[in-house]
Every structure is written in structure tokens, then in C-alpha cells.
Symmetry: C2
Amino acid sequence: MFEPLFDYIEQKSGLSITPHEKNLIKTKFEFRRLRRRQYLLQEGDVCKQMGFVLKGAARMYSVDNKGHEYTLRLGIEGWWLGDYESYTLQEPTKFFVEVLEDTDLLTATKESIQYLASTIPAMAEMIRTVDKRTVIATQQRIHAAISLTAEERFDALAKTHPDFLQRFPQSMIASYLGITAETLSRIRKKMVCR
Amino acid sequence: MFEPLFDYIEQKSGLSITPHEKNLIKTKFEFRRLRRRQYLLQEGDVCKQMGFVLKGAARMYSVDNKGHEYTLRLGIEGWWLGDYESYTLQEPTKFFVEVLEDTDLLTATKESIQYLASTIPAMAEMIRTVDKRTVIATQQRIHAAISLTAEERFDALAKTHPDFLQRFPQSMIASYLGITAETLSRIRKKMVCR
DNA sequence: CGATTCTTTGAAAACAGTCAATCTGTGTGG
DNA sequence: CCACACAGATTGACTGTTTTCAAAGAATCG
């Protein structure tokens, strides 16, 4: 059950983890199964733990006072769930993290993760690497948001994450791209014609 | 001359640095003075070094095939200059980093910074902390880009970085917000009336 | 099968971009 | 000191895109 996480840590860090370290990780992560439509996190909660997705799909979104939803993050197998800001600062979140299919997770608190990082070199290196990758990915998304048209942003997403288009409803993809579901529907219609 | 950098490292890491460590840092960073309109980095370059701003102002932007500019980053005293993606991956950049006033920098290569990080605990911790803050800040900017109107994004920027509005021409603020200079001008006009 | 959710479509309104002209302030050279 | 050039900001008219709202059409789940 923990194998996908072990593989992930070794792959991201480029370091291997010993059997002893694996046992340590097993004691600090908790297996959780969430059913479709359950929330891992809700607005106002403090994000006490991050979750590594073993199986399933989820999204992180906010809701404004008009009821509009804005999807900040989509995640499937091999992604982390949780609000990084709320987790890092231990402050209440503005977001909901909702599971879209029955989902299996490995969760751990900040203290557990910090302990593992201080004990297991591969864990510390994995976190540094993932943080760096996240900075790069978010910078690219900002660049897309300010420099590309809605259609170009959709094309870019279709290229970088074609799996997302299969797994998530179009309305969520639209909200991830910063457009309405109607606009995305029309963009797709136009594209098929060509 | 190095004091602002030492202060920055101690403040961000929460750790103090010894006189010996300070000397080490001095050997690895290079002082550079750039004149208004000079480039620290140009499209196609590999970002060999990051620069810590002692005095001055700069922006990082891309140019599309129609000649439109998109500002990804604005920086003044106490900010880092350079394309994080190109620096981290050592791949050619899509961006220009241009100095808007005569600017004093402390620059260091990736190797130097990695060496300092492996030698000086405060340096390593500063990098981790700044990376985490960057993830949070970029996530907030993405959220603003997809959830707020142009006017609301301007208000948000005026709140979080009022100094930017003084230091940078409106056309650059507009491009940072993902709108045209004309639209920003009209937004400001509307706001004054209220 | 019925209920629910998601997607598509249409028409009107709101919004932002484009292009061109004008205005304003700054600094430079004569 | 003035005239001029220059860059940045503003304004107007127009175009194009996106949102909004409402309704109808598919797809999915229990």
C-alpha cells in the first residue's frame, strides 16, 4: 500500500530509502479512504495534514460571494492534496478540497512530515525538489494566465496534462483555466471544426 | 555592502551567521552595478546566476510574436532577480530581466549558492523558507488571476505592494496584472471618482 | 426509469483590447 | 531659459471576446 509513496520519494529525491526508513514512514502516514463528494478540507479549516493520492481524483477550489467556484488545483494518483498555504502557515484556508471519486490517501501532519524530513535524507530532498518544481509550475501557470488567450490556455493544458481532460468534468477544467463552462464548451466546438 | 544580504539571510532563516560564514558568502557573491535599461538576462540565455537587489528596480517579462510584453515579476531592494525556472533547470529562458533604474546587485552562480547552502545552515534554511513563500505567493497570484476582476486585482496589488505603484510605470503594473495600459488607466479613472 | 448533473446553445450585456490621437511631464541640447 | 523630443498616460471610437442568464439537450447514477 505504501509502495507508490516510497517510489515517489525515491524518484523525486534521487535517493533510496532503507527498510528501516520505510517502517518509519509507515508509522507517520495514515491511510484514509474518502468517498466521492467528501471533503478533505473545508473553508475555515486549518490544513493539519497533506495527503498523497494513491487512487482517485480531487480538486481544490474557492467559492466567492456570488457562488462562483475557482479551481486552483486538480490532483490524481501521485499528487498531493491540501492547501499548501494553510498547511505551511497553519492558518485557516480559503479553499475546499473535495474528492471527486472514491479516493485512497496517505495523510500526515506537518509535525510528522517535518520529523521525517529531519530523519530521512530522501524525504528532505524530495520536499526541496517538489517545492522547486511547484514554484516553476505555478510561475508557468501565471505566465499562461496573463499572456495566453483562453483557447491557448486550454491547448497548453491538453498538452501538459491530457489525463486531466479525461478525469475531470469540463466545468472544472474551465474553472481551472479561469473561464466559464459555457466559454470552454464554445472553444471546444470551434476547435473540432478545424 | 553585504549587510543587506546578511540581514536578509538571518531574517528569512531565523538563524544567525558567523563572521566566518559571512566571509565565505563574500567570496561567492559578486557585486555588480547595472545602468538603467541594461539587461541582467535576455531571452535564450541560460540564467547562470541569481541577483540580490541592494538598490534599484527591475522587471522580468516575456515578449510574444506580436510584440506584447507580459511582466511576470517586479523587484526592488531585497528581492531576487533572475528566472527561477531557467536557473533551477539550467535551460534557456523565455524572459528578459531588465533594470529600470541604476541598480546594485549581489550575484552568485548556482554552484556557489549550492556550495553555500551545503556549508551554511542559515543559507540552506533561507532558501527553503523563500521557496515556500514563493509557492504561497504564486498560488495567491494564480487565485487572483482566475477569481478576481481586473479592478480587484489592482486593488489587491495596491494593498500588498503599495511601493510598486510608486516605483514602476503604470504600463508595467498593467502588464503585471494581465491587462493593457489603457484598461488600467480607465480603471484608475473610475476609482478616483468614487 | 426518473432524477440529477453536466454540457450545449442562443441572445444580450458587460468587459477588455486595439488603434490612433492627444495630453502631460521630464530632461536635453541649443 | 526655451524649444524640442521623448516616454508615459489618457481618451475616444470601434472591435472582439467573455460573461450572464435562460433553456434545452445529453449523459450518468441509483
